[in-house]
């Protein structure tokens, strides 16, 4: 899937994460800021990258402002942002990929 346009999902509330995706031509650029960066920075990065990989997103600028979200939340927010950037509103393929 490609990042069609800028989109955002999630909030900055505690235990959530705000994920913004934007089109980009320079491959995947991932920027993470987190209140638990020291403890879980690597884990957050891995979760986001895995989710993007599963959605077959190969380029885009992805910004995550994490407020201590669990992995499942993070995954859902990344998926939602990518779906929104493609204007997919019905039959959302949560946890899967769109081919």
């Amino acid at each position: 899937m490609i990042i069609g346009k800028s989109a955002m999902a999630g909030t900055l509330e505690s235990s959530d994460a705000q994920v913004t995706v934007e089109p980009s031509e320079n491959g995947l650029e991932l920027e993470i800021s987190s209140s638990v960066m020291n403890q879980y920075g690597r884990q957050i990065r891995a979760t986001v990258m895995q989710t993007l990989e599963r959605l077959d997103v190969q380029s885009g600028k992805v910004t995550v402002v994490d407020k201590g979200a669990l992995d499942c939340t993070l995954k859902a927010r990344v998926e939602c942002a990518v779906y929104r950037s493609n204007d997919i509103k019905d039959a959302l393929p949560w946890g899967g990929a769109i081919v």
């Binding site: 800028s6 955002m8 900055l12 509330e13 505690s14």
Partner: protein
């Protein structure tokens, strides 16, 4: 306690009055220009927090001290970010009191510059400003022979050209930053192209887009919409602090500016510049305007003449390329927009 975040319309006088009261209570000055305002209400429909937008900036954000520590600012910034993304703005800016900057750095904002004890200017991209600096074309000239000129060129006149010629006499390279904000009747791309065409054959000029970091809606909103002098002065200081960082990165040692007898806000900006830049180790020279038949040339006057349908008047004030643009099909839309505008003289 549960909270509700909702828009407060401009016409909602009761809601707006509550916002005013909250801002006063928390010692925050309300901006004269806001294009979206939201409020966070508790179960009793009391306003606990507020925040606003203008263009790609977040402004006037406050949480009532009775509710501090509950994470309400997170709600406000989440809500405003969504509003901004809907508008197509993902690169966001804000300013805040120096004492509040740390809250915003927890919400994914990074400091660009600060005016000590006044305000901090932030953006939501870690490498936004450094990427901008990296992308600017450099010149291999010594610092003391490298100059900068910032211009709106709305449109490019022989006055602008004269300013650039004067700068080029005193420097080996002149970096020309043309304002990128699409605000007036002439599109930014056209303004820049007219600078390009109007300076053909001049040596040592390097043209840049000013981007969001020089005299933009974010750094110096008072340039585009009238603000009080106090507010404009602080914003001008902020804008010039950011400029000093750009100058440092690019090895620019001086800035040239045209004398400003007409526009109040530009005059104010120049005055702050004459104080601020030397303090940052950058020279600043004011070049007297070029006059034609005793009349100093100004883009405001050019627009006024176009507005009044007396385009013949500007023949001697603009280079051939600007004349061709304003009288040809290319600029027809801009001319129509100038003619329709109520006010074409810069405040």
């Amino acid at each position: 306690m549960s909270y509700t975040v909702t828009q407060i319309a401009e016409t909602d006088h009761r809601g707006q009055a509550a916002v005013d009261a909250l801002l006063v209570q928390e010692g925050i000055k309300r901006d004269a220009h806001l294009d979206y305002t939201c409020g966070v209400y508790d179960d009793d429909y009391e306003l606990c927090a507020t925040g606003s937008c203008f263009a790609n900036t977040l402004r006037c954000m406050a949480v009532s001290h009775e509710h501090q520590g509950e994470g309400l600012m997170n709600l406000v910034v989440s809500h405003l970010s969504e509003v901004q993304v809907e508008r197509g703005n993902t690169h966001l800016f804000l300013y805040t009191k120096t004492s509040s900057a740390k809250f915003f750095s927890d919400l994914g904002f990074y400091e660009i510059a600060r005016v000590p004890d006044k305000l901090v200017f932030m953006e939501n991209r870690r490498t936004g400003f450094s990427d901008y600096l990296r992308a600017l074309r450099r010149s291999d000239t010594p610092r003391e022979r490298t100059a900068a000129v910032v211009m709106n060129a709305n449109p490019f006149t022989l006055g602008h050209r004269y300013l650039l010629e004067q700068a080029a006499l005193r420097a080996d390279a002149v970096h020309v930053f043309v304002l990128s904000e699409n605000f007036g009747p002439i599109p930014a791309a056209d303004r820049k192209r007219l600078v390009e065409k109007g300076t053909e054959g001049m040596d040592g000029l390097i043209l840049h887009d000013s981007g969001p970091y020089i005299i933009s809606q974010a750094t110096f909103p008072g340039y585009f919409l009238k603000d009080s002098d106090d507010v404009s002065t602080v914003h001008a200081r902020l804008d010039l602090t950011v400029f000093a960082r750009i100058a440092e990165a690019m090895g620019i040692g001086m800035r040239f500016v045209g004398e400003e007898p007409f526009s109040h806000v530009t005059g104010l900006y120049n005055q702050v510049m004459l104080e601020e830049l030397p303090r940052q180790g950058i020279g600043c020279s004011v070049i007297p305007r070029r006059s034609v038949d005793g009349q100093p040339i100004s883009a405001s006057l050019v627009r006024q003449a176009v507005h009044d349908g007396q385009i013949e008047q500007i023949r001697n004030w603009v280079p051939e390329s600007t004349w061709a643009y304003l009288t040809g099909p290319e600029g027809a839309k801009a001319v129509a927009a100038i003619r329709r505008a109520d006010q074409v003289i810069h405040h």
